[in-house]
Amino acid sequence: MIYSRYFRFISALLSLLAYQNCLASENGDWFKRFDWDAFASQSVIYTNDYDFLSESDDNLSLDMWEAGVLFTTDVYQRLRFSAQLLGRKVSEYSDEDIRLDYAFFSYPFYQSGKSTLGLRLGRIRSSYGFYNETRDIPHTRTGIVMPQSVYFDQTRNSFYSADGIEFFGFHDFDDNRLSMQVFFSRPIADKDEAQEAADLRPKNLKGDQSILVKLGLGNEFEGWRAAVTYFRPEYDVDVSFAVPFPPFSVADNEASFYSESVVTSLEYNEFSWSVTLEYLRHKFQTHIPQVGALGLGESRSDYYEEAYYVQGLYRMNEQWEGYLRYDSSQLRGNNNQAFPGGYFDDINVGIAYRPDGHWLVRAEFHYIEGLARLLDRDNALTSDRYWTAAMFQVAYRW
């Protein structure tokens, strides 16, 4: 089953590449340059007590795989088009494994030696934090899974790319770059992820509007770099919930839900080591007018999440590297009260081996307390708070 999806995916990629190559050869100034990359990875996951991104509870699971092709072409002069077709399996209950993850035009309307101003239009991967834009490429990640405190996989498709327009600009001075992005969009809501979005078990989740603003400063090579991201996607939700006295069910198609995040990112790089810290302050608000109309109390509810990870990476040589990460999140309600199941603390350690420029082999171990980053659709959550995950991954890039 998995492999028939691989074949379907690979055929789609080859057709796309063949078509683009035809365009490149037949049109002078059009499609002058065409770059593509592709990758595939297969993970083996073993966990105790819960399923994590696969059917892995007391089981060596091969469920999690990723494959993607990214391509970019200079459509005409400075107008560029970039897209990623991604195949990914992280839950037994996901229907669609292949999706157009992003596809956008990019045009720098002002360029000088050190400054650029431009815009992007289309389905765009949000520039949330340091690593969201390249999170799917195994070779650019630090571990097999992203730090789940900040880059959670529960609502990855709904939260991290959207249809809209982004203005970007940057200025280089000395060895540093000052950058800014402002992204207006309509969020994409993945139906498989809808029930992970809130405790409402929504029947339908539809993107309404979203804004992302990011400011960055620093040097990627060595020394410090820092960024602050503000991100607020809003959604329309259809909900159906039970009312206990007398027992009946209420449907509300006027409900809404928004999430507001501020991510502060800080990193220090040296030749053989890096330290990264990203801190997320996250607010969710749900509004259900029917609840207020029925006299059942507040029609709004707020939840706050504080999450962060701190990670040290050591490069032993160009083939071997290892990391140690502490990853934590805590959910709180209106009155700052902690939710008993709303937390997640993960101490994880991993090692990576790159035999050449194509292959990558990784192994990592997670010791976790808390259930807040488990997929609801895969698990019947119990009172057992401690669990572990061991992972192994082989990835190849072309």
């Binding site: 970019t72 030696g113 834009e133 390249t134 650019t140 770059r177 090579f221 490069r315 160009e318 420029g357």
Partner: protein, 104 residues
């Protein structure tokens, strides 16, 4: 320039950057000794520029001979070669289209 941040020369003309394959010995030495970075870190930066639409990746050439030919043929381009190839070029004075910069 090899991080693809700088796209033009001081006179405003555009830069074309050539690199060798990531597992080529000269590329690995150049990254570690001259840029003080591992090759996979440099590639991650190119990925970020290319697939966010904010820049390009360098043009990859297969070997040192091709690197030499492409730099000679392309005005405003830059690349790198191993010390022994550079020494041979200087000794033979065989290519007056190239300007050789020694980086220490």
């Amino acid at each position: 320039m090899f991080a693809m941040k700088q796209r033009s020369w001081p006179d405003g003309s555009s830069v074309t950057v050539f690199v060798l394959p990531s597992d080529h010995r000269t590329h690995r030495d150049f990254c570690k000794k001259k840029l003080s970075i591992f090759p996979n870190q440099l590639e991650a930066m190119w990925y970020r520029r290319v697939y966010t639409g904010t820049g390009s990746a360098p043009v990859q050439v297969s070997d040192s001979q091709t690197m030499l030919r492409r730099i000679s043929d392309t005005p405003g381009s830059i690349g790198y070669l191993a010390d022994d190839t550079i020494s041979r070029l200087q000794r033979d004075n065989s290519n007056d289209l190239l300007k050789i910069l020694s980086v220490h």
